[in-house]
């Protein structure tokens, strides 16, 4: 399972990579911001998009809108990660076409499982 992860905070990128690779058994490709992600998006074939919401430059939802314009990215399940926790905000994120929202701070031991469950509930 390949995860396409965009997150501007280097420490959180590192924690997420260790959590997803060592505990979750995923393969993770990481990008610091939307520009870096878009530069490789044409060649990338991920199984899931994991996008931080608040980033300098393009936000997660804006990046997702750009990615969706590409045929091969149009239907890849997307999950947001955010420190914004208002219930209305979570609903708004889901309306932009994400299968789920992971709240920061996340639990590194169960992060992979959380993503798997979101993908399964989408498939069901």
């Amino acid at each position: 399972m390949k995860i396409f992860h965009v997150e501007d905070d280097a420490d959180i990128r590192e924690i997420a990579r260790m959590s997803l690779e060592m505990v979750g058994g995923f393969h993770v490709d990481q990008y610091e911001h939307a520009d870096a992600a878009l530069a490789v998006a044409a060649e990338a074939r991920p199984d899931v998009l994991l996008l931080d919401v608040m980033m300098p430059g393009m936000t997660g939802p804006q990046l997702l809108a750009e990615l969706r314009k590409m045929d091969h990215m149009a239907h890849v399940p997307a999950i947001y990660m955010t420190a914004r926790v208002q219930p209305q905000e979570i609903e708004a994120f889901k309306k932009t076409g994400a299968v789920g929202v992971i709240l920061k701070p996340f639990d590194p031991v169960t992060l992979g499982q959380e993503i798997t469950e979101m993908l399964q509930s989408k498939a069901a």
Binding site: D11, A83, P105
Partner: protein
């Protein structure tokens, strides 16, 4: 008497004077005229009372309906464009003008703006704290999960302490955001006619893990099985979970906490009783203050934030509810949550969502 009118006319705050009988506006001072964009000369005809002041006058008249000769001065808040006013309404006799009611408009725009800025700061800081906390909690969680290999026992103990306190910090931030949302009016209350038995069951169920951890049972005493309140069920569950967690935390192992539902005439009462140490009389009046934790127990060990009861009180305030408690050292503490019966709440008092 003429002197008094002159003083009133030269008051820096806008003032309206109402007829004590008809509640019609009799006089506006220079500041009120200026506020309305009229010439500051005295004696502006009242027919020219600008739309905004006329609306405020209508609100004052509504307030007057709730007052009688014995009432102390009452306050009401009105806003116009970006300006906010605290209006003090004084009855005849109190105001020094027989048969006249005086409404003085005090500009509180700066205070309101400062409050808003404070709330924005709280919200921003709380959100900004989450990113570093994500990294801290994540790194320690991975170490504890063995991702960096086996740890010596003492190192593991220390990382566990750090991890537990990172979690506590997150709870405090969540509580601060909750309090901020309530103060800001941003907390949404989804009110519905709610059977209170259901709320109690949900709350008791929600603390099942907690009861097990502290080896404390929950006894239910339902004396008003059909009791209903017009409230947001999720917020009331939040209130009861808070009270139950406290009760469980402060009860000795093997004890039971009691949840009682009673019809108390004008209102329904939910009580949560613990068999804890009780709250000394000297500390009782601080109980609902922010960041107050009673007793000698270690804060980290109880896992509390010191904000729980402030949140409980703020939520109940918004729901027309009321919380009180009785406590006896060595016996225990009982919290009473009083909720108005649905027909006892005037429509205008029901908080709207948002």
């Amino acid at each position: 008497m003429q002197e008094a009118w002159t003083i009133l006319d030269r008051q820096p705050d806008p003032v309206l004077v109402f007829d004590g009988q008809t509640h019609a506006v009799r006089f506006q001072n220079r500041a009120a005229a200026r506020l309305a964009g009229q010439s500051a000369a005295a004696g502006v005809p009242l027919a020219d009372l600008c739309g905004w002041l006329r609306m405020s006058a209508a609100k004052v008249a509504t307030l007057l309906e709730t007052m009688d000769a014995e009432s102390a001065p009452k306050h009401l808040e009105v806003s116009h464009c970006d300006a906010h006013f605290d209006v003090t309404v004084q009855l005849p006799g109190l105001s020094g003008f027989p048969d006249q009611i005086v409404a003085a408009f005090h500009d509180i725009t700066e205070r309101r703006n400062a409050e808003r800025q404070k709330q924005e700061l709280v919200s921003t800081v709380s959100h900004e704290l989450r990113s570093p906390l994500t990294a801290i909690k994540g790194a320690m969680g991975l170490v504890l999960a063995g991702s960096a290999g086996a740890l010596p026992e003492r190192a593991r103990d220390m990382v566990q302490i750090a991890h537990r306190n990172a979690n506590r910090l997150i709870l405090i931030i969540n509580d601060i955001l909750d309090l901020d949302k309530i103060a800001d009016g941003a907390m949404v209350f989804d009110n519905a006619h709610t059977p209170l038995v259901e709320v109690i069951d949900a709350a008791v169920e929600a603390v099942a893990g907690y009861r097990q951890r502290f080896d404390v049972k929950a006894d239910l005493v339902i004396e008003a099985r059909d009791a209903v309140a017009f409230i947001d069920p999720n917020r009331l569950v939040q209130v009861l979970v808070n009270l139950l967690s406290n009760a469980i935390k402060f009860s000795p192992a093997g004890a039971a906490v009691t949840v009682r539902l009673q019809d108390n005439g004008a209102f329904n009462r939910i009580s949560v009783t613990d068999r804890g140490e009780g709250i000394p009389a000297s500390e009782q009046r601080f109980l609902f203050d922010r960041f107050v934790q009673i007793g000698t127990r270690n804060r980290a060990a109880t896992g509390g934030t010191g904000l729980g009861l402030s949140i409980v009180q703020a939520i109940l305030d918004k729901q027309n509810g009321h919380i009180t408690f009785t406590s006896q050292v060595g016996v225990g503490t009982t919290f009473h949550v009083d909720l108005p019966k649905p027909d006892a709440v005037p429509d205008s008092d029901i908080p709207k969502a948002g």
